[in-house]
């Protein structure tokens, strides 16, 4: 009876184990290759991927290359060896992405690219932000602000990401369109190289010193905003020069309503991650997938922040509570 019972127990356990194994074995595996999960943007995107992949019944593993090409290739080789169902990649750069796509193609694994993009190669879909439109919209926010203060005869300085990048060019072009429409002139454009605090501070100082009529600084990034704020304060221009950013930091949710920042154009990394998984899922199901998906960037200002707050929290900051 006990034996029987044990037998039955083992059989049941065995079945359970098999079922479990079966159920585990049945979950297709997706790999997310991220350039650097230490960076909040990618980390938020990763959360979006994790959440949506889980929700759709995929096993999802994320690898962070920590901005190292060799690691990225090793993780790619690893994923290929593991025979994953699909790869979602945010490559270290668009050239490296070509090799990843080639390796995946040789192994017959579909790839969805989430942001950054590729120089060439075959992929299922490319999910990106509409940098041009986002920059245009945030430009309009700044123009309105300057008009309200009657500062529109002053000029605007730009601290940009490198302009050889596609997204850098799109951001500058969109923003300048808004400035031209408002009749506001651009003072100067400084391209970031090191993306450091000091660089941002120095560039801001130079813009203020060289342009007596400077009324605003547009920072095409988010994390070094403090460098710009400190430079304005140190130049004795606090309250006389506005700051506006691209992308988001959690503290922006407080700074924008307080008027420390005029506004920020916020990409939606969480949403991007979700959309990348959705695209892969559709492909695996054999559905038609859009080859390029451009997600909107949120133009956030003190007037709109309250209304946009739930969306910002979820899609921008990946906060689900």
């Amino acid at each position: 009876m006990v034996t029987q019972g044990f037998k039955q127990f083992f059989i049941i356990m065995g079945l359970l184990a098999c079922l479990t194994q079966l159920s585990f074995a049945a979950k297709p595996k997706l790999v997310y290759l991220s350039s650097d999960l230490r960076i909040p943007f990618w980390s938020i995107m990763d959360r979006g991927i994790q959440r949506q992949a889980t929700a759709l019944g995929y096993e999802i593993v994320s690898y962070s290359a920590n901005n190292d090409a060799k690691s990225e290739l090793e993780f790619t080789a690893k994923a290929i060896k593991e025979g994953v169902a699909g790869i979602i990649v945010s490559p270290t750069n668009s050239s490296a992405c070509v090799t990843i796509l080639k390796m995946a193609k040789n192994a017959g694994i579909p790839v969805v690219i989430s942001d950054i993009g590729t120089e060439s190669g075959e992929y299922v879909s490319y999910i990106s932000s509409d940098n041009y439109e986002g920059a245009y919209q945030i430009g309009k926010v700044l123009a309105r602000h300057l008009h309200t203060l009657k500062w529109n005869d002053g000029s605007v300085g730009i601290i940009s990401i490198p302009q050889k990048r596609t997204n850098g060019k799109a951001r500058t072009t969109g923003f300048m369109k808004a400035m031209d429409e408002a009749g506001i002139k651009a003072a100067d454009l400084k391209q970031q190289v090191t993306f450091s605090y000091q660089e941002t501070y120095d560039f801001s100082k130079e813009l203020i010193t060289n342009n007596a009529d400077l009324r605003a600084i547009w920072l095409q990034g988010s994390d070094r905003y403090q460098g710009a704020l400190n430079a304005i304060e140190d130049s004795g221009k606090k309250g006389q020069i506005a700051l506006i950013c691209f992308d988001a930091e959690p503290e922006f949710l407080e700074m924008i309503p307080k008027g420390i920042l005029v506004g920020a154009a916020m990409q939606q990394p969480f949403l991007m991650g979700e959309e990348a998984v959705n695209a892969m899922h559709k492909h695996l199901k054999g559905e038609k997938v859009e080859h390029t998906v451009r997600l909107p960037i949120l133009p956030v200002s003190s007037e709109s922040i309250e209304k946009q707050l739930p969306m910002i929290k979820r899609n921008v900051l990946g906060v689900l509570y």
Binding site: A69, K70, E72, A77, K81, S95, A96, T99, E119
Partner: protein, 1063 residues
């Protein structure tokens, strides 16, 4: 002739040799080039491989170590595109490790041209292609740590090399063929042009031969040496043959020509020419000779003279022929021949010359007969002429003698022979110069030589000492050179005649022309000559010359009282006394009625003359006794003007004489019977005037004067009545000058004044005629100076001008200056009457400034009085002037003259003149004098002044005008006194003592009943005097004085206004 028939052409052989040789050479060369190219391509492939791998090696190692697979793949792909190798294969050890494989091979391969595929290590076609590659090179890729991290292999294909070689081969073949063809073509062309064509030309030329088989033309010049030598040799041969033929031909021609020339000479010769043999038979004759015998040459030849003429004549001819042949030389004779052709007779000089052979044998005779008929006649004619000429020379009363250039006399006419009392034969051949004493002979010889040298006729006057007694005569001599055929003087013919009597008559005439017939002293003409010599002498010897101008005082009285004979006696006596006082070398002359001049030369100082003059004055003053019916003791004195020479400035004899004349005039002015030395300082001032006078003379000549015209108007009717012509001088340096600045200089120069007057009248009349053509109908006034007025020439001129321009004389008014013209009332009246008789009007200019007496106005029949502008200008504030104007108006009324007021400068002046009864005016307010061309335009616009036209003279109260003027006068005096008290009289300051005050108290109160107006005027008058007194008495500063004066002036105006209101 055709050469080379049936022979093969040189050209075919040349072609065969050239083609074979060129093909062989060029083919060998092509093979050599091909092998070289192959070698070159091999080397090039290796080099390109090396370059490619070298470039990749460096860059790939870095990219491999940074795992930038896509980057190195792009690099490799780019290299594939650029260098076009067969394949580039990379073995990436790092990726092999990442992938966990033995090797990770990537790369690209180009199997088909233009298409690059990714290299697949598992693809057998790819591997096969690599194996078959022509060349490959492998390199290890080393990282920074010197670790091998991969390999790269570059594979090169020879396909391209083969293709290139093939292309090159085809190119070479095509090139070679082309080259061969071109070379063959050029060589053949060259051979043809350089060798075959010249050879063909040569054969063609040679084949073109004449009937003798000798080529007619030379072979043309050949370019190439070798062919040219052949051609020239042939040509030389041909030339030699031709020269021989020509020489032969020429000798023949020469002989013919010589014969023709001989014949031509024989026929051309104007004489008769013939040849006979020793027997007298004709061998030859010319056409002139044919005429003699009336037969043709062919009919004469072979015959003798007996066949043509009488036997006697034929004998004569024959005898002469024989004579010549025997003599062995030419024999001449004259013979008269009758021509058988036309019966003409002629005298001929015949020369017969024997014809002698080389061995001395006489074979015949040549005859030439020359016609001398005309020559003989000419000789006879000349002989007759010579005789006629000789008879002429011998009968003419002139002395004619001819001698050769040595002086030998070759001819002398009878007159000359008679003069010398010699026979012709005794004189001919003798030396002409021997007839005279050596000195005279020498003089004649010089004159003859002059004629010989100049070859021209020479006429002179000599004293001729007549041999044998050497009686002196004055003769006129003409020497005529007689030239030979070579234009050299061969002889001199001298013709001379006695002029002694004629000369002495001329001398007498000259003496009387240069001397005063009464006194025998030199006259002005001779004096001028003599004084110039004296001046020159003094200047040269640095001595002084004193020129005395002596004018007798009271000579006219003696003449008038005692008659001209007495006057002549006085003059003769004075002349004698002068001659007694001065030295013979001094020049004494009588230059006018009672005017003598003496030039005393070679003085050491001016003082030397003074003593002489004192003596002169005394001597002249000595009584002169004159006897007619009774004896008269006449007394006369002299005024003497003295000047000296030389002076600081160069001076001529005329000017010196003028100086002494002026000095004499001063002596006269100083009281006569004295002398006055000319003052040079005074003279310099006069010189300035003189210069001005000369300028005026030039200005008249150069038409530098102009007439301006000032209008005269009727003030009441506002119309123009005429113009006055006014003289202006357009001076080249000083601009437009008014007459005041130059006319006074002419007051003493009557001639110039009259000359200028003539110019004025001519110009004015001419202008007036022009205006009249344009419808001008006003009068024209022309000024006339005192000189002009008295000058009868002017009368004639004006009379002529009136006729010339057919001008109505009444339109012309002569303006005569009251002061200057009327010195001699009687004369003036006479002249005026003359002018009036012509119909002209007469105006008295500047009336009021001269005598202005009632009597003279009564005497002189003038038509117009022109009131002097000084009165008109002052009339507004000078009651004196006003009164004169009033009086003038009265006079004009009385004598029924028109009155014209001059100097009307303002409307105010005109107003007062009209009130006084004046009608005509002239002055600036109307118009200034204007150039002739402006006159018509001005007239068409002139309308007059309404202020003048509306005045009614009958209503004018002259008393009130007078009162106004009095007050104006007082105010002006006050004004002047205040401005300059030192030089101006103080006006009466007491209101009841001033003239206006007196008028107020007496006349005004009687005349005007408006007591209210009078008392107001009185109070104003009182007020003005109070102010004036205060101003004059109190010493205030200038500013307040002027202010008070202004107040007084205002009061003055008010007073004048209220005076007018009294009427």
């Amino acid at each position: 002739m055709v050469f080379g028939v049936g022979k093969r052409s040189l050209y075919i052989d040349f072609l065969a040799v050239i083609v074979v040789t060129i093909i062989a050479v060029v083919s060998l060369y092509g093979l050599y080039i091909h092998s070289k190219m192959k070698e070159h391509f091999n080397h090039q492939i290796q080099h390109e491989t090396y370059i490619t791998i070298q470039a990749l090696e460096k860059n790939l190692a870095t990219l491999l170590s940074s795992y930038a697979i896509n980057e190195y793949e792009k690099l490799v792909y780019t290299e594939m595109e650029l260098k076009e190798p067969l394949a580039i294969v990379v073995n990436d050890f790092n990726m092999a490790k990442v992938m966990g494989e033995e090797q990770y091979i990537t790369g690209f391969i180009a199997l088909h041209e233009g298409k690059i595929d990714s290299f697949e290590s598992s693809n057998p076609i790819h591997l096969e292609a690599l194996k078959a590659s022509f060349y490959h090179e492998k390199r290890h890729l080393i990282d920074a740590d010197n670790q091998q991290i991969g390999e790269i292999t570059v594979y090169m294909s020879d396909t391209k090399m083969k293709q290139k070689l093939q292309e090159a081969f085809i190119d070479t073949i095509v090139g070679v063929i082309l080259l061969i063809l071109i070379l063959i073509f050029i060589l053949l062309l060259a051979i043809k042009r350089m060798a075959l064509v010249p050879l063909t030309q040569m054969t063609c030329t040679i084949s073109n031969a004449d009937s003798d088989g000798i080529p007619t033309t030379a072979i043309p010049h050949m370019h190439y040496k070798e062919i040219a030598i052949v051609a020239e040799s042939i040509n030389a041969m041909l030339e030699t043959i031709k020269s021989s033929r020509i020489l032969l031909h020429e000798s023949h021609e020469e002989a013919i020509k010589l014969l023709a020339l001989n014949r031509l000479i024989i026929e051309t010769i104007p004489d008769l020419l013939w040849l006979k043999d020793a027997d007298g038979k004709y061998l030859l004759c010319n056409d002139k000779f044919e005429q003699l015998y009336g037969a043709k040459e062919q009919d004469i030849i072979g015959k003798c003279d007996y066949d043509f003429v009488e036997p006697a004549l034929a004998d004569f001819f024959r005898a002469n022929d024989v004579k010549a042949m025997q003599a062995g030389h030419a024999v001449a004779n004259e013979e008269r021949l009758a021509f058988a052709s036309d019966g003409r007779m002629g005298l001929f000089q015949t020369t017969k010359v024997p014809l002698v052979k080389e061995d001395g044998t006489v074979i015949g005779v040549m005859g030439i007969a020359h016609d001398v008929t005309e020559y003989k006649m000419l000789i006879d004619e000349l002989d007759k002429l010579r005789k006629l000429y000789l008879s002429l020379l011998n009968t003419i009363p002139l002395n004619i003698v001819r001698f050769d250039i040595q002086g030998k006399i070759t001819f002398a006419n009878k007159t000359f022979l008679n003069l010398l009392h010699v026979k012709h034969e005794d004189l001919i051949g003798t030396n002409g110069y021997d007839l005279y004493p050596p000195m005279i002979a020498e003089e004649y010889r010089q004159k003859d030589e002059k004629v010989i040298l100049s070859k021209k006729m020479l006429q002179t006057t000599h004293i001729f000492s007549l041999p044998p007694h050497m009686t002196q005569k004055i003769i006129e001599v003409i020497r005529i050179p007689i030239l030979d055929g070579e234009e050299n003087v061969k002889e001199i013919q001298v013709i001379f005649w006695d002029v002694t009597e004629k000369i002495s008559k001329e001398q007498e005439l000259e003496y009387s022309a240069k001397h005063d017939s009464l006194t025998g002293l030199p006259n002005r003409f001779l004096f001028n000559e003599l004084i110039q010599k004296a001046m020159y002498r003094c200047k040269r010897k640095e001595k002084l010359l004193a020129l005395l101008f002596i004018d007798l005082d009271g000579f006219k009285t003696i003449n008038d009282s005692f008659g001209h004979e007495a006057g002549d006696e006085v003059l003769k006596t004075i002349a004698g006394r002068l001659e007694a006082i001065f030295r013979t070398e001094d020049v004494i002359a009588r230059i006018g009625g009672d005017e003598f001049v003496v030039a005393v030369s070679e003085l050491s100082s001016e003082n030397e003359i003074i003593a002489l003059i004192d003596r002169l004055l005394i001597d002249i003053h000595q009584p002169i006794f004159y006897q007619n019916e009774q004896l008269h003791e006449l007394h006369i004195s002299a005024s003497v003007g003295v000047t000296f020479y030389p002076q600081e400035e160069d001076i001529g004899s005329e000017a010196l004489l003028r100086q002494s004349d002026q000095a004499m005039y001063q002596a006269k002015l100083q009281g006569k019977n004295r002398y006055h030395v000319f003052d040079l300082h005074v003279n310099s001032f006069l010189k300035t005037n003189q210069k001005r006078i000369e300028e005026i003379e030039d200005a008249i000549k150069n038409d530098a004067f102009a007439l301006f015209y000032q209008p005269k108007v009727d003030m009441k009717e506002g119309r123009v009545i005429g113009f006055e012509a006014l003289l202006r001088w357009q001076h080249p340096e000083e601009g437009l000058l008014y007459p005041d600045s130059f006319l006074p200089l002419l007051h003493h120069d009557k001639t110039l004044m009259v000359l200028l007057g003539e110019w004025v009248f001519k110009t004015a009349f001419r202008q007036y005629a022009l205006w009249r053509e344009k419808g001008f109908s006003f009068g024209l006034s022309i000024n006339m100076s005192a000189h002009e007025f008295k000058e009868p020439k002017m009368f004639t001129l004006i009379q002529g001008l009136l006729k010339e321009y057919a001008i109505n004389p009444e339109a012309i008014e002569l303006e005569i200056l009251e002061t200057s013209a009327l010195e001699d009332m009687k004369k003036a009246k006479e002249i005026i009457q003359h002018y009036k008789a012509l119909g002209l009007k007469i105006a008295l200019d500047d009336f009021g400034t001269g005598y202005s007496t009632l009597s003279y106005l009564k005497e002189l029949p003038v038509d117009t009085l022109k009131i002097d502008k000084s009165f008109v200008i002052d009339m507004l504030h000078d009651s004196g002037s006003f009164s004169i104007l009033e009086a003038a108006m009265g006079l004009a009324d009385a004598f029924r003259c028109d009155v014209v007021a001059e100097g009307v400068e303002s409307i105010e002046h005109g107003t007062m003149l009209v009130q006084l009864g004046f009608r005509y005016a002239q002055g600036y307010v109307v118009a200034k004098a204007m150039p002739a061309q402006s006159v018509m335009g001005w007239v068409s616009h002139y309308e007059g002044f309404t202020e003048w036209q509306k005045i009614h003279c009958s209503m004018v109260d002259k008393n009130l005008i007078f009162a106004s003027i009095e007050h104006c006068h007082w105010f002006h005096m006050l004004q002047n006194y205040v401005t300059n008290p030192k030089h101006n009289a103080r006006p009466e300051l007491n209101s009841s003592l001033c003239r206006f005050g007196e008028w107020m108290n007496k006349d005004a109160k009687k005349t005007y009943r408006n007591t209210e107006a009078l008392s107001f005027l009185e109070s104003l008058h009182e007020q003005i005097h109070t102010k004036a007194q205060a101003m004059v008495m109190q010493k205030t500063d200038e500013a307040s004085r002027l202010k008070t004066l202004e107040e007084i002036q205002n009061l003055h105006r008010i007073i004048v206004y209220h005076i007018k209101q009294l009427s």
